[in-house]
Symmetry: C4
Subunit: 210 residues, 4 copies
């Protein structure tokens, strides 16, 4: 905040609030994994109980990486801005709403890993998050919001990358129709794709920023 | 924080703490939506189970938008301040207490969407939040707290806008007496009203700030 | 953070982390109030169900004010510091641990409002929080941590005020031995005392800060 | 954030997000301690009920200190950085994922304090957290990330210290194989070891920083 009055400190606070919502949503993911109460104390009983939780562990990792990638992209994009206005605030809140909903849809999918409707619901939440991110970035990464010294090429690349999550979510959604169980597969691949996209994007950016 | 000692950094920390409480309350809203355990795995069973959760989903969206609008207004108002004193701290804590209570009253209403007492309780929580916000702003948006370069007209507009939430909450409260179920209707409209108020306010402000 | 390297930005981050823990603990207080499931939908049934929750509502308000007062005092004290070292970090973490425990002891007392052990447990948590705050402040509000321009009298006053919470908690603890139920009474008064102490402290300070 | 565009403010936001996740994870630890519902209201019944919760209280304290020590080390290390790139972001997210998982494994161990598999699972979570912290620090505490004015000796010491948690976690893991119950013992000692390491490290640093 320091000495800059007006837009700059307000933009910082908007960023701060977004960071906090991302951080809370990503940490709440674990809340939905309940401690098992197996009958017995033996190692076999316990290993089975933990094995039964495997879908929850995988769901936690998957959702953590997806929300983490959404945060990393948000981090990257908002670092390029110099001002904001109400349309950004509400587009940003819409994205945060979808992200804040993730602990529910992640728990829904993890609790019923072989049913296709929960899986499609989860994919839908990811699709909506991806589209809302794309909508936010397409508005924000333009004058007068974006700083003038940001190369046009960087913005093109960043906008193109917002297609990754909607694309993977759509594939998962469609696969879930025919192959409920194994349709988790592309979702498990998604972190790799998103990670790859995100890593490329930041690496690129770090070469232009001082 | 940087080099500014005294009031400025303390005001920043007060703002920060408020942002964190808003962010946590808004993200905890999802905690109260519990994963359904339908009997059966078919699509119809699941679609019905999700349809049964519709009041929860709507309640989540409604409360998210209301808390989001309260945060946006707080963000706007505190951006105009230059100092604070204990009366602001405790008026602010009173508002935060009401906001932190929202996850409970939102869950109460969503769990019993056709009973009128939970609905009135929810409307009452919104009314109290709105009145506490109004009380905070009426104290804060005055000398010596507010910056001298803020036009008096902006403050008048911002104070008038704090009437929106109490007004809508009162209408919902009264409607709930006679029409328990459909009294959700104005609550569903409320985001639109609040959004409209908020958008107007920030747009206005963004024309005066550099 | 800006340009100040070293102690200053690290102190800011320590403050930030503390604010976040206070904010989360204060907002989690509501989590322990569970939505009632009364048998019936009538107004009388519902008003009774909400009346049954009264101890939870009062416990929420009480704990919110106490944690809020602890935060306000922390806010005030850390605003006077210029450096820190590991002993402050761990004394601060000890205070945060006691604060983070409040949602449990608050729920314990609210769930069993007429039993004396839960009440004494709650008073004990407050007592420990107060003593850990006192221990932290007594170390932190001294050279070389505190800024040189802070009047010695201010520090004396601030240290004396840290006696308020331990004192009230001890009274509540002792009263609970003989009068389990009404021993809530001094706890209900405690916010007033703490508020009065805190208001005085900040008002005083705002006259010396620019 | 102030006037520094580019790397500096982005690094601050990365730090901020990490702080928030640490703060949430550390505060969520209490969520898993459930309010007991003893049959009866007598003191003896209640003292027994609270005594039954002792493993939860100890688990809360233990996990709080471990997560607190991980945060303190993170705080220390990131205070030495001047830039970052995508590899740091994802190594940092990996550490945060393991930390965010702690409320679950802590609750698992506390709920079943005499079974060895939950205890080994908890030790494993600590081991993974320690190794991910070590991996992050070994990458981050090197040019071009670290500031040039940081003495090489400080970095050597800080890297060596990241061995403390993996070491203690491994000892606990192995002890749990033969002595399920008392294997809690080294875990209880761990805070002391980590605290000792952390205190030493920060004290050292505070002698070189201004």
């Amino acid at each position: 905040m320091s000495h800059g009055q007006g837009q700059e400190q307000q933009l910082e606070r908007l960023t701060f609030f977004s960071d906090a919502v991302f951080a809370i949503a990503i940490t709440l993911l674990v809340i939905e994994i309940h401690v098992p109460e197996p009958e017995g104390h033996g190692d076999g009983v316990w290993l089975q109980a933990l094995a039964d939780l495997l879908p929850h562990f995988l769901g936690f990792v998957l959702s953590f990486v997806v929300v983490g990638a959404l945060w990393a992209a948000h981090h990257r994009a908002f670092g390029l801005l110099q001002r904001f206005d109400p349309s950004l605030i509400w587009r940003n809140l819409a994205l945060l709403m979808s992200v804040a909903f993730m602990p529910f849809s992640s728990a829904l999918m993890s609790t019923h890993p072989t049913d296709r409707v929960p899986e499609m619901f989860y994919a839908l939440n990811l699709l909506v998050s991806g589209l809302l991110q794309r909508r936010l970035f397409r508005t924000a990464l333009r004058p007068p919001y974006v700083r003038e010294d940001v190369p046009a090429e960087d913005i093109t690349v960043m906008n193109r990358r917002t297609l990754a999550l909607p694309l993977m979510a759509t594939i998962s959604f469609i696969l879930a129709i025919w192959v409920p169980g194994p349709s988790n597969f592309p979702l498990v691949l998604m972190p790799l794709v998103v990670t790859w996209f995100a890593r490329g994007s930041i690496r690129r950016r770090s070469t232009v920023a001082p």
